[in-house]
Assembly symmetry: C2
Homo-oligomer: 335 residues x 2
């Protein structure tokens, strides 16, 4: 029987995740039962949002809390090796919510998005054509309703979602402004990701830096970080602004929740809207969305950046990198 | 020349407004110029939101800060006495954003909603058929999208907007739950305003009281008060919930803004929406909305409650009553 190396949750992170919270193990692949598939995972996607289910009692309407000493839940891209399930056959490419492991045996009750025709490098189907790219797409398409000339501000603008959101907003004719940490990343937002302006969130006066970068005010705020930046944004939104709540990386590690913005009433006086959304609920629209995104890639309008590590043993490190802001673009591990 | 008694802003409220912040004065009515109208105000509407423009430097995209020693801005219902303006004639009934005064002379550049056909008692056009009733209507119609069986929670449920919002939600087939202060008002929410259940916001355990009253969770929250209740609500919203931000009476008097809800990420995980809205921007739809509301009144589906005071000299008191929670229904002063 082939060995299956996996990374388990060794201990629950206290605050930011650390590599010692994860442990490499080797397990046996069980024999395939009727109705099951065996999938070889080729890439693992690292997504900060999964931090939410690492705490004790953190189960919610989306996922249960991750059990200790079991493979960490995550998004994967893999190929079916063997199938005893009527909907799948050997060779199928699946984007799925499996776990940090080399092989997954499952009855396919999990969240699975088959890639019917893989015209692009497989890693794209975890990034720009995966949940993160599609988060940017659905958020902006369904709730952003960007019109040409509007100002779209993106937080974690160099991240997996943000880097795509900025480019999609630009495709809609917006003036795009990205928020990131430090001069170096801000410079790259403009030179590599096509943002019109950048805001350094470590600036001494964040409100001033934001106002300088958004002289016409903010029409759309695509929020990937949550936390205190929103308060600064709310003071600078235009009438009919739309705030898209995608991720909240600034709060996932909090042991105690921090106060929210003290100026939510700006939403009333500016008759503005705040939309939370969960990309995986649009599974039936993934093919349509991927087709549009793929066209943009082919036409050279979408540039893909990746922070890639090699080997299952580095998955924990890759996850920690997300919270240290080391990534530029989508973070994945190639197995 | 006829005397015009008015109530001016004598001093800026520190925290909650007090009667000494307002002063009765008598002024002369100036001669009517070309392009002007003279309107006799019959009723003054008291709306907590106007507290926002009583502070120094409080002007915003909606209104300028109120000047000291000038008549307090507010909504009025009056009759044109004399017109040198092409759009108005003597006898016209106007709901308008004038001031706390017996007569208004204006070039009609203000916010004015003419009542083309006054089929109902005139005071209705400041309440159920005025901005407060229409706030309930537009909020629920445009953003609430209530479906039968959903739970609609209303804060300041006995207030001018809340008392109508609860009844409109009921007309849409919702189970309605009102929040108010104290057992007596909560009892009246059910017996007089038709709410299915009530939550006493002074309860020792607000979250528990809310969960008891909303066993199926909260689908729509019509918020008239802002402040800390929202945090409790966010923990109990259902998927696809809608939060309608209408008013924020709990925060208007704050000298320093208080922290907002620490759990806004609930909007993401529940893919929920928060909508701010300003009723006066729908001026072109007032006639249509009034027709619907009027039909409901005629059919006995909308019951109107009023907290009425008499005489211009009591306008300041009536305004202060709003913040003391003394009102049940719409607060107006009859001149």
């Amino acid at each position: 029987m082939q060995e299956n190396r996996c990374v388990v949750l060794a201990s629950r992170p206290q605050g930011a995740p650390a590599v010692h919270n994860f442990r490499l193990e080797s397990r046996q692949i069980p024999p395939l039962q009727a109705g099951q598939i065996l999938c070889r995972n080729l890439y693992i996607s690292l997504d900060a949002g999964f931090r939410n289910w690492m705490d004790e009692g953190s189960g919610d309407n989306v996922l249960p809390a991750m059990p200790l000493n079991e493979p960490v839940m995550g998004l994967t891209l893999g190929r079916v090796e063997e199938s005893r399930h009527q909907d799948f056959k050997a060779g199928d490419i699946l984007m799925a919510r499996f776990a940090w492991e080399e092989f997954t045996v499952t009855d396919a009750g999990d969240f699975i998005s088959p890639i019917r025709q893989a015209d692009y490098p497989l890693n794209y189907y975890l990034g720009v054509l995966g949940d993160t790219g599609l988060s940017a797409y659905f958020g902006l398409t369904d709730h952003g309703q960007v019109t040409p000339g509007e100002t779209v501000l993106v937080s974690a603008a160099a991240g997996a979602v943000g880097s795509i959101a900025g480019q999609i907003a630009k495709l809609h004719g917006a003036r795009t402004v990205g928020i990131s940490s430090g001069e170096e990343k801000c410079r790259r937002l403009i030179s590599e990701l096509g943002y019109d302006a950048a805001v350094d969130r470590t600036a001494a006066d964040l409100a001033l830096a934001m106002a300088d970068a958004c002289p016409q005010g903010i029409d759309v705020y695509f929020d990937n970080v949550g936390g205190p930046i929103l308060e600064t944004v709310l003071d600078q939104i235009n009438e009919d602004a739309r705030i898209l709540l995608c991720g909240s990386v600034a709060t996932y590690n909090q042991q105690q929740p921090e106060p929210g913005p003290n100026n939510l009433f700006q939403l009333t006086t500016k008759h503005a809207h705040m939309h939370g959304f969960m990309t995986h609920l649009n599974l039936d629209r993934y093919d349509e969305a991927r087709a549009t995104m793929a066209r943009w890639i082919s036409e050279g309008h979408l540039v893909v950046h990746e922070h890639r590590l090699q080997g299952i043993e580095n998955t924990g490190q890759a996850f920690c990198d997300l919270f240290a802001g080391i990534n530029f673009g989508k973070t994945i591990v190639e197995l």
